[in-house]
Symmetry: C3
Subunit: 360 residues, 3 copies
């Protein structure tokens, strides 16, 4: 039996920090609104299915101007604050577009040098001020745990607006994992879904929070096999492997990429994230070519398999691969936008209206 | 009898500069549109009442989606330029939200390094260009008097759009004073309004333009007593005291904060504004603790009294005080947004439509 | 007979680069959508007339709130990306306003230091990502030919959104030329249009892409005489003169500005663009006063003539000239906005709806 978890306004900050990710997820998911989206572990299989179905539904509704105008009226009375103090054009644009599709007004804070933080204000006071002008705060920060801390803090105020974590530090980027699952759902729609597939992760698996979250979420599906291909120094973390073991998932650590390609249903390429390198340089000496998808690898790949990448890429995937129909990384970008629309609709409780919409 | 004042397009810049603040206020308030909002002195008691009532009305209308959609259609054909070359996230967000609530399109100029000023354009030409794309310019600048100068300049062009001063230099920040009055109106709604209250100002009273404007506006009310508590070097200016004297208002300069707390109806805390310090440093040696509101001060405070702060704060108010219902500084933030909506509705003449609205 | 030109998706990048500007224009204008706007040469006389008429029509419709609301609904389902990596507040605001008038949602990329380009992404990948979130990309860049290259690249993807060149490097700025033609159309509306007029260009004619494009477009009109007044080092390029010769247009190179003023129908002043100077400095030694319009020149100017300037100006035109009704450079700014609305309506095929609109 699972331990009873206190809801956010009752738990102390220290108690919250001592919870496992799974227990944190249960804490944040408590039916008490607002629904903060802070860790990938909040998405269980039914919710992943529901959000994916909703994203596909929204995509259909959005095909006509009438449908777009319908969507654009749903949250026209709400304002989203995009608090992006860590550079990320891609995630910013994706959320910004998602907000606009639902008609939300948006306001941005991107550079704290123009903010009151300069005048000695605490981050808590800044965020509380921002919450005064918005109905949701979508937060991207280089500081690990910031989104969590602010959600906890706001839960004790008169205006507890939901926080959506759009990437915090090295640890969590839950909506990226969500869009990856949605891409897999769509890719295997006619092949029995994600169950029983082999997913191969390649590259910087130590620091790619995307990979870590996705590996975790894949344990929601049956008999998925995960293969991790990385230079030893950048191999996937032990905590993830422990979780895979505990959940009875099959996995393999390997180093010969070409050998693994033929058995993959999905290959998830990643960039070496040298912006996290310390001064001695963890990744400078890595021979990147061993962890790259070259044009000649296409012929090793199964006809139904897909090649994914969270982007931006450097040279991990040859540009020639882009034209192959199995390259779905550009579709991932659009999927990310649609699944974020679905997530916002879920947070603001307007999924039913969308389901009931009958347009021309 | 008051002197006759020429309207903006007829007065010369030199003549305008020689007017008193009261006469400037009369010049800017002339019924000739556009109505520029440049100095706090433009708000007399009837206008303060009207704007406060309108803000409260708008707040009610905004409670429903239908009401928000009504408001959001009122100025959907207008564009507001937010010209914020001095950092101020808080005031920016407040005005931005206010514009969005009325459906105004917004466009921002925040960094003049990306502007034509780099190419040697005069500020007059820049502002005139910006006026081509907007129906109102909301202007925040480190340069004292800039908003005034630009309002005067635009009044001589074919496109004299209104200017709203969102803070210029050390001198004026009229909408901050407006929101403070609105907060006092609401706080004393059931206690006879602002008349006969004791307002205590604490901290950097020399350089806080907020305090200066509010002290001035409080002379619109009957028998308000003002107490100024500050280190000698940062005490309120003689010009303000002269105005209080001239208007027959009661005031007191004091240094013992604790002693004054029990008689206060409102305590207005402020931050030491050391960004205005010259190199020798005016405020470095101030013992800030003597001008701070600590948790233990709460028990000295009358039950109906309120604690205000224009924010951002540093350590002038202990975080523990936030949870006391008499701490209204977070409400001030929301009040600021609503009173700015009311002000824009006033400038664009749509207050009547809002008053007449009957929504569900 | 003109050579057959391949459409964008079939031509190679090398083939495209070898075309003349006229042939490029034919390539980009091919009826295959999307319609990219990349070079001024795409505007022939019928299209210039159509866009000018549409701008004037839109200006009329926009006079009422009902009309603005009609326009604001036309493209409410579309998103415009404003990719402005080269500083240009004026052009940015003009396009931004134009998009908003048609109800387009807008999203901005202005500083690539916050973008994935920092993480080693190619510009092609960045733009392709941006295209995922938008229906048109309005692109301003210091890199010559970038807009062309990106249009060509996108034409090979599943999401070939139109590109509008808002200024690339030293070479092209087609919508600036468009607004200049529109200003001339309006200025000579009651004097037989642009045909048979004398247009005098003054200042930095070598590096002003505006002048180069406008000189080119004026060959669409009958018996226009062009006079170029510039210091020898900054005189108009030989390629333009060759084009004028080939098209049988009359032109003159001159150095005595005052002598030419009385015969001008339009005088087009320009700024010395020293931001393009190399280190030795091409323009430092130019006596700018010889290429300036002073107050005393007004009496030399014909009563119906107009003074234009693409702005920003430095000292090429005395401020006193602003008040003369023949000074139309501030009107150019507004014209630029309206003609851009017309252009976007043309790209998105909603000109007919606007023509058919019957509002009150």
């Amino acid at each position: 039996m699972k331990a009873k978890i206190k809801p956010l306004p009752e738990i102390t900050w220290d108690e919250l920090q001592q919870l496992t990710l799974d227990d944190k997820a249960r804490c944040f998911n408590r039916s008490d609104r607002p629904l903060h989206i802070l860790v990938a572990q909040q998405f269980d299989r039914p919710l992943l299915q529901e959000l994916g179905d909703m994203a596909t539904r929204i995509r259909q509704v959005a095909k006509s101007k009438q449908g777009m105008d319908f969507l654009g009226n749903l949250l026209s009375h709400k304002t989203a604050m995009l608090y992006f103090t860590q550079p990320s054009t891609r995630t910013f644009l994706s959320f910004h577009s998602a907000c606009q599709i639902l008609g939300m007004r948006t306001v941005e804070v991107r550079d704290t040098s123009t903010s009151s933080e300069m005048k000695g204000e605490t981050q808590e006071d800044s965020i509380r001020t921002f919450s005064s002008f918005s109905d949701v705060i979508i937060m991207r920060s280089a500081i690990g745990g910031l989104a969590e801390k602010m959600a906890w803090m706001l839960s004790h105020t008169e205006r507890p607006v939901p926080i959506v974590n759009a990437g915090s530090g090295k640890d969590q980027h839950p909506t990226q994992a969500l869009l990856d699952i949605y891409t897999l759902q769509r890719s295997f729609e006619k092949r029995g879904g994600i169950d029983r597939k082999t997913v191969v992760f390649v590259g910087d698996l130590a620091r790619g929070r995307t990979v870590r979250s996705l590996a975790y979420l894949l344990t929601n599906y049956e008999r998925v096999k995960q293969v991790f291909i990385a230079p030893p120094a950048l191999q996937i973390g032990k905590d993830i492997l422990d979780h895979l073991k505990a959940s009875g998932s099959e996995y393999e650590l390997a180093s010969d990429f070409e050998k693994v390609i033929p058995e993959a249903d999905a290959i998830y390429m990643t960039r070496i994230q040298d912006e996290w390198d310390d001064k001695t340089g963890d990744s400078g000496k890595v021979d990147i070519s061993k962890y790259s998808f070259a044009a000649e690898h296409l012929k090793l790949l199964q006809p139904h398999a897909v090649i994914m990448h969270p982007l931006p890429r450097r040279k991990e995937i040859a540009v020639e691969v882009d034209h192959d129909p199995r390259a779905v990384y550009w579709r991932q970008v659009r999927n990310g936008m649609w699944i974020r629309v679905a997530l916002l609709a879920h947070i603001f409780d307007c999924s039913d209206s969308i389901r009931d919409y009958h347009g021309s």
